[in-house]
């Protein structure tokens, strides 16, 4: 478990002081994959570096499994870091060492014997699918392979927490997918708590259980990925969600709708089993309405199907009201688009 308690990080002093983080309170439960998303400069990388004290919070505390890191001596911090693996955007491998020696490095630092070390490294390289690359050097590997080496290295000392600092941001989409699959496998098989920082909403949707949205050093909102995706409260969060849901109506269509006197355009959000029902045709028949679907999409978030429709209702006004009421009674969310999300 990772807990941030009023974590503030200030760079510079006096009038030049900049708050990278302002009073962050967050809890990452054991065994979950927690994502922190934010644009660059939001304070993400300061936040993740406070977990292993690569950056020391100016104020506030960071707990790992209930132990306050900020109160530990340098030696104790070093030994705690062996329980916290970390992978990086630019991999940060030793170019002068082979894949084997890169992965063996944390073991070497911890004083493992040669035999034990070889065995463990072989195990790790097998796990990340690089058993045939042990004698190669990092510059002979692709980006995805380098990140796999980074992951193997981070796992060498059997950490209980893995920190991912923009770990897929330098990779192409396909490689990103394979690295995310690997992270999920690590989470499942080793029960390792994973904290990810990223600016890619796709990463969050793909593997995170929970998400926190960071901006200007403040957590705007946080919760389960499903809740944040289906009901983003803050504008920045909406921007992030839109970046992969792409449910923004083109401006020309929005203008057309605005120009109509009686426009009734609604966003209908289905979740779970309700995605399977033929809702629109029923409504259309029952209330004698014409329905024009402007946008439609169905996706899966955390294994739950999630449908998103933008529909123009055409017909008598009171019939439309009745129809909306009927939809809401089926626990399906309906929102006015023109006054809501333009």
């Amino acid at each position: 478990m990772i807990q941030f308690e009023g974590v503030t990080k200030t760079y510079g002093e006096g009038s030049n002081a900049v708050n990278a983080l302002s009073g962050i309170d967050l809890t990452v439960e054991t065994g979950e994959i927690f994502g922190v998303i934010g644009f660059s400069g939001a304070g993400k990388s300061s936040l993740i570096r406070c977990v292993n004290l690569l950056e020391r919070p100016t104020k506030g505390k960071v707990f790992i499994h209930g132990k306050d890191l900020t109160s530990l001596s340098k030696r104790e911090v070093r030994s705690t870091r062996k329980d916290i693996g970390m992978i990086f955007q630019h991999f940060n491998l030793l170019n002068s060492k082979t894949v084997f020696h890169n992965v063996a490095m944390p073991l070497l630092l911890s004083g493992f014997g040669k035999k034990e070390m070889s065995k463990r490294v072989a195990e790790l390289l097998d796990f990340v699918g690089l058993h045939d690359k042990a004698d190669q050097y990092p510059d002979q590997l692709s980006g995805g392979q380098k990140q796999r080496v980074g992951i193997a290295r981070a796992l060498a000392t059997n950490p209980s927490v893995l920190l991912c600092d923009e770990a897929t941001s330098a990779l192409d989409p396909e490689t990103t997918q394979s690295i995310l699959d690997l992270l999920r496998k690590i989470n499942k098989e080793y029960k390792i708590t994973i904290l990810i920082i990223t600016h890619e909403m796709g990463v969050i949707r793909e593997i995170c259980d929970k998400v926190a949205v960071l901006e200007n050093g403040v957590v705007l909102e946080h919760g389960s990925v499903f809740d944040v995706f289906t009901d983003p409260k803050h504008q920045t969060t909406q921007k992030f969600v839109r970046s992969i849901m792409n449910d923004h109506l083109p401006e020309s269509i929005l203008n057309d709708i605005r120009n109509k006197k009686n426009n009734h355009v609604y966003r209908i959000q289905f979740t779970g089993s309700s995605t399977g029902h033929p809702l629109l045709s029923k409504i259309s028949r029952e209330f004698d309405l014409d329905l024009n679907v402007l946008y439609g999409n169905i996706t899966e978030i955390q294994g739950i199907p999630y449908g998103n429709l933008i529909v123009e209702f055409m017909g008598e006004r009171n019939q439309i009201q009745k129809a909306l009421l009927s939809i809401q009674q089926q626990s399906i969310t309906v929102k006015d688009v023109i006054h809501h999300a333009s």
């Binding site: 690569l54 630019h90 940060n92 030793l94 920190l163």
Partner: protein, 216 residues
């Protein structure tokens, strides 16, 4: 020609001897100095402004004195250490004072080239400062360090030739006393040729070694 081939060979050995000894001592002084100049600077491993500023100042002072003046200026120190201020052994002292700070700067430069991310990864692994220096910084900079040492060695060959001015022996001494002061052009050119070959050989060896370490 006023000198015998034995004299030239003797002088060559003296030069090699001077350069190798002063190189060893200069590295012994320059390496820790270079490492300290890196790790004590702002935002680095063991940030310490007062140590950094002091060392930085000392290195700058020595680096600003031309070797020919340094040679004379530190005669009392030389006499204290070797007992005499004349001869090949006596030349090693000023050579070390000259090359030590120079090597410190070269090493500092090489170490600064190491990707900060690697150091960050090392810290995240729980490495001690000592482990970071010897397991991460130095190995990662090795190929660049080899080139830096090549430059330093070539510099020492040049500086050792000036030792002739204080009767320090070696090829430079030969070139000055016979070639310059007695107008023995042949000796002048022969010593010059030997020096050129030495420098070429050193630089090529350094390049090959560095490339081999870099594996490219």
């Amino acid at each position: 020609m006023l000198v015998s081939s034995e004299q030239i060979i003797d002088a060559l050995w003296e030069t090699i001897w001077m350069v190798s000894f002063s190189l060893v001592f200069s590295v012994i002084i320059g390496l820790p100095l270079g490492i300290l100049l890196v790790i004590t600077r702002k935002g680095h491993l063991l940030e310490n402004a007062s140590i950094f500023n002091t060392l930085n100042g000392i290195v700058n002072i020595f680096r600003s004195v031309p070797f020919i003046i340094l040679l004379v200026a530190i005669v009392p120190v030389t006499r204290f250490i070797v007992g005499t201020s004349i001869g090949t052994s006596a030349t090693i002292v000023p050579l070390v004072f000259y090359a030590g700070p120079y090597i410190a700067r070269l090493i500092e430069n090489s170490l600064l080239e190491v990707d900060k991310g690697v150091i960050e990864a090392a810290e995240a692994m729980g490495a001690t400062p000592g482990q970071i220096i010897f397991r991460f910084l130095l190995p990662e900079a090795l190929s660049s360090l080899v080139l830096a040492m090549t430059i330093a060695t070539v510099g020492l060959v040049g500086a050792s030739a000036m030792a002739g001015a204080v009767g320090g022996g070696g090829l430079g001494d030969l070139a000055i006393t016979y070639g310059y002061q007695r107008f023995d052009t042949a000796t002048m050119y022969i010593t010059l040729g030997i020096l050129i070959i030495m420098v070429q050989a050193l630089q090529s060896t350094g390049n090959i070694l560095s490339k081999k370490i870099r594996r490219s």
